[in-house]
Structures are given as C-alpha cells and as structure tokens.
Symmetry: D2
Amino acid sequence: MQVDYEVLKVKAIDMLKERGVTLDDIAGITYEIQKEYYDDITFSVCLYHVNNVLTKREVINAVLTGLTLDILTEKGYVDEPLRSMLMNDYGLYGIDEVLAYSIVNVYGSIGLTNFGYIDKLKLGIIGEIDRIGKEPNKCNTFLDDIVGAIAASAASRIAHTK
Amino acid sequence: MQVDYEVLKVKAIDMLKERGVTLDDIAGITYEIQKEYYDDITFSVCLYHVNNVLTKREVINAVLTGLTLDILTEKGYVDEPLRSMLMNDYGLYGIDEVLAYSIVNVYGSIGLTNFGYIDKLKLGIIGEIDRIGKEPNKCNTFLDDIVGAIAASAASRIAHTK
Amino acid sequence: MQVDYEVLKVKAIDMLKERGVTLDDIAGITYEIQKEYYDDITFSVCLYHVNNVLTKREVINAVLTGLTLDILTEKGYVDEPLRSMLMNDYGLYGIDEVLAYSIVNVYGSIGLTNFGYIDKLKLGIIGEIDRIGKEPNKCNTFLDDIVGAIAASAASRIAHTK
Amino acid sequence: MQVDYEVLKVKAIDMLKERGVTLDDIAGITYEIQKEYYDDITFSVCLYHVNNVLTKREVINAVLTGLTLDILTEKGYVDEPLRSMLMNDYGLYGIDEVLAYSIVNVYGSIGLTNFGYIDKLKLGIIGEIDRIGKEPNKCNTFLDDIVGAIAASAASRIAHTK
C-alpha cells in the first residue's frame, strides 16, 4: 500500500476545518503560551511551526483517527457503552489524551508540560471547542486534545530551534 | 456521568469474543512466553492474570475503542483515506500500537519488551487474527495489537508477583 | 536478587526529606489542584493518596534514580558535558521529565495534564525547589519534576476513586 | 546556557566506545533485523541511519545519562539500595527501559516492536554486553537497553523512508 502524506496532510487540515478549527486558531494558542518567553516571537512564526507539525505522519494519523471517532459518534454509528463515554467526554476515558500524547511525544518530552498547561486552562479555541462539544448531539472529545497537542508541539519546535 | 466498569469489563470480553478471541486464547500467549522462565507456571495462573488485566479502566477503554474502529471500518462507515489504511493494516499507521502501549504502560515499562516480542513473532492466536484480517472486507488492525498487549500485560503481572 | 519494596519506600521517603521535601509538602500540591474540583476534599485524603503512590515500584525506582543523579552532580562525580546540563537544569535535557512521566504513567494518561499544570505554574514547594536549585553548587534538576509527578499521580488516584 | 549538540554527539559516541560499543556494532543489529524485510538493504545504509539517530537531542541525552549511571555504579559512587539493583540489572527496576523508550519514541510507536524483539533475543553485541555486565564490578544495566533502542530506532528510520 502506498500512502502520500502530502495528500493526507491536506485531508487532515480539511477535517480540522470541518470541525471548526483553522491552523490560525491553533497558532494562536502557541503564540499565547510562547510570547512570555520570547520577546521576538510572532504569530507568523507560530503558524510556520504549526504547519510543520502537521507534516508528521504520527500527527496526521492521530488527527484522522480522533476526528473520525468524534464524527462517527455524532452520526450514531458508535455503540454503547462507548457512545455515552464519547458523547459526555467522560473524564476517565483517557484514550483522547493517549492520542494527544502520541502527537506531543514526537517532539520529545518537553512538549507534555505545554500540553498539560493548555489542556488545564482551556486556552484560545480550546474553550470554544469544549463549549460546542457539550451541545446535544455534538462530540468534540478528541478534537480539543488533538488541537492542544498540535499547539503544544509547535511550541516545543520553537523551543528546540531557539 | 456514571460508568460501571464491572459491566464494561463484561462488554469488552464480549466484544473480543465477537471478534474471535477468548480469554483462553490470550492466556495461551502469556503461557507460551512465561513457561521458559518459571517452572511452576500453569495455564490457570496465566488466565487469572489476563482476567485481572481486563479489570483496568485503561485496558477496557482501549479494547472498546480499538475494536469499534475495526468494526466500523468493516461496516464501511470510516471514510478515506483512513479507511484504506485500516483495511490494509498500513505499517506506518501506528495508532494501533499507540493504543496497545496505553494498555501495556499500566504495568510499568517491562511489559513493552514482551509486547514487542509477541508482536514480532505473531505468537498463538495473533497469527490467526492477522490471517483473517487479510481477507476481503475484514479488518483486524487494532485487534492483534490489543490482544498482544493484554497477553504481555498479564506476563508483566506475573513477573511483578514472583 | 531480592528487593523488599517496603524497605525501599522508606528509603525513598528519607531521600526526599534529605533533599528538603516531606510528604506533607507533596500532599499540599495535590490539595491545591484538587480543592476546586471536589468540595469535600481534605488535606488528609491527599496525604493518604501521596503515601499510596509511593508504594509503587516504578515510583520508588524513579525517586531513587533521579535524586541520586541530583546528589552525584552536586558532589562533582558527574563528568562534562552532562554535569553542566544538570547543574543548570538545561531546558532541552528532558530526561528529568522522562522520569516524571514514568511515575505519572502508572496512573493512566489523565495524570499528565495535572503534571503539566503543576510544572508550568511551579505550585507549592516546587517554586522553592527551583529557587534552591539555582544556588551555586546546588542541583534539583530531577527533584522538582519527581515531586510534581507524585503530586499529580495522587490527584489522579483521587479522580479514579471518585 | 548554550549546548552544542554537534560536540555532544561526538561525546556520546566516545562514551559508547569506552563502554565497548561502536556504531558498527549497533548498525550490525539493525542490519540483522531489517535484512529479511528488504532485499536491497546494506550494512552501510544501516550505519547511515544509526549515525542519524545519534544526532537527536533526546538520544544523546539518554546515552549520556544512562552510561553515566553505569559508570558511577561501577566506581562505587551510587549508594544502596540503588547500587545493588543496578549492579544486578534487577528485572523490575525498569528505569533502563524507560530511558530506552525515550529514544525509540522519537521515531514514533513502530520502533517499540523492534526494541522488544532485539531486547528479548539479545541480538548482536547485546548478548556480549549482558555477559560482561554479569562480571564482578561491572555494570551494563543501561548500556544494553540504550544500544538496543538506537538499533531499533535506526530500523524505524529505514521503514519510514521506504
């Protein structure tokens, strides 16, 4: 089997957009957590690194898988008891965070601190994603963690290149 | 939201069975990799530990999620490009192994050596799972890794209690 | 080789104390991050869970290893270039965080969010540990992450039992 | 603090050599596990990828840290009870494997299967490292896992580029 990850990257970005998240939104989170550390950081630099994170095979696969689970749950194709856990973003489910770590891990362990911080404070679009996910028939269980993980990974890339 | 993990354990075991894998099959793999280390190991002891692994929240959640992805892929609900990657157990997909590690990790890092060994040699029912997964319209991309991870975790439990 | 982890637990607690950290200090961090979620949480409950985290083999091994590296660095037994990285708590070193995750991972993935949050905000005694680590001839590179990881793991235990 | 990872890479390779392991030895393991999958694989290609793995910050940090622990244990600077665990390569210690995973993880999850396989079968120089580690006053507790992890990571790089 041949897989063209250039094509898959576009598909992953499209899926994020269909779920209401642009690369600008993600870069905004990265900018928010990095501006206090680096005087010269700009939004464009953050966007550059977000784009780069999305070229990684592990990241693309996590985006496609996590968002597919959110979508199929909304469409009613996921059976109980998993359905209720996903619809309610059940706190002890944990697989959403497992996928997020598979993204962050690619950039070494220092990204996990940023991920934990973003996730706890619901920075930028994360708060909006969570709010929508609580509406009836909406499921953003994977989306918030995946977006946070990409933003945290971009922050790690910046730290690695400074 | 309230989740009764006693009920979920039964559901996870049922799902494994519907996909063709019994706890006896998993215990058989554990027995195969442990018998050379412990003279007094029995199949019943292995089955006891497999049962115990399946009481863990992280393990149950991984089983429910992974097998749901296999099933929804077979049913045609997963869109391209993810569909082809899952139908073909694409080697660089990696999310199946990420879920497997979330199981093995619960028992500390020593379980990963056993998982790698089981996965590479396709021990016991794993070979059969892989063969069936290659049939048209069949998808066992997550099943083989999850079964290997449970067997490896049971082996780790045995090592921890010796 | 026989290892008595009851004895090792005492040794790990002694080592933490020699480095200036009591179990009360760690429980204080756990209390700080949990009190907003649970009305009925008490300091004693947090201390109970911190104590429990310290019975885990992986946790004890990480404490003994990390603190030994801090101590041997202070004593001048670690050669360059590692010596300077450890003395300066070099941001891209990352092995301190790797050990921290080996602690947090035992309690499933949900602990990592708490760890990231504690680490970023330098809660409770963590700020003090970092301040001392910056004094000449002092090295707390592993200590802050290990203390944060134990506090985060105790918080995870509380979440798991609610 | 400024760290030049070009210099550190040379230092890491020197430390491996002082402990009896050359890059050729590591490439030999990679070749052994890859030759059955790729008809056109050569030893030189394996060596190229081993060299590349050793440019990664996380890998260099793990090599410097793990080998330092082996060396300081041999020299008698590590106190009990950790000393005995390291001198005897105690099976439930696990921190050696934690460091190994921090290497393998950089190349995504597919490397862990190869690591588990290499570790279990004691391929190539790994068997020799383990034999020497059992001699009196010798400690190779971290060395075998780190060498296995570098070889497995090189194999992952090959899989990613095919």
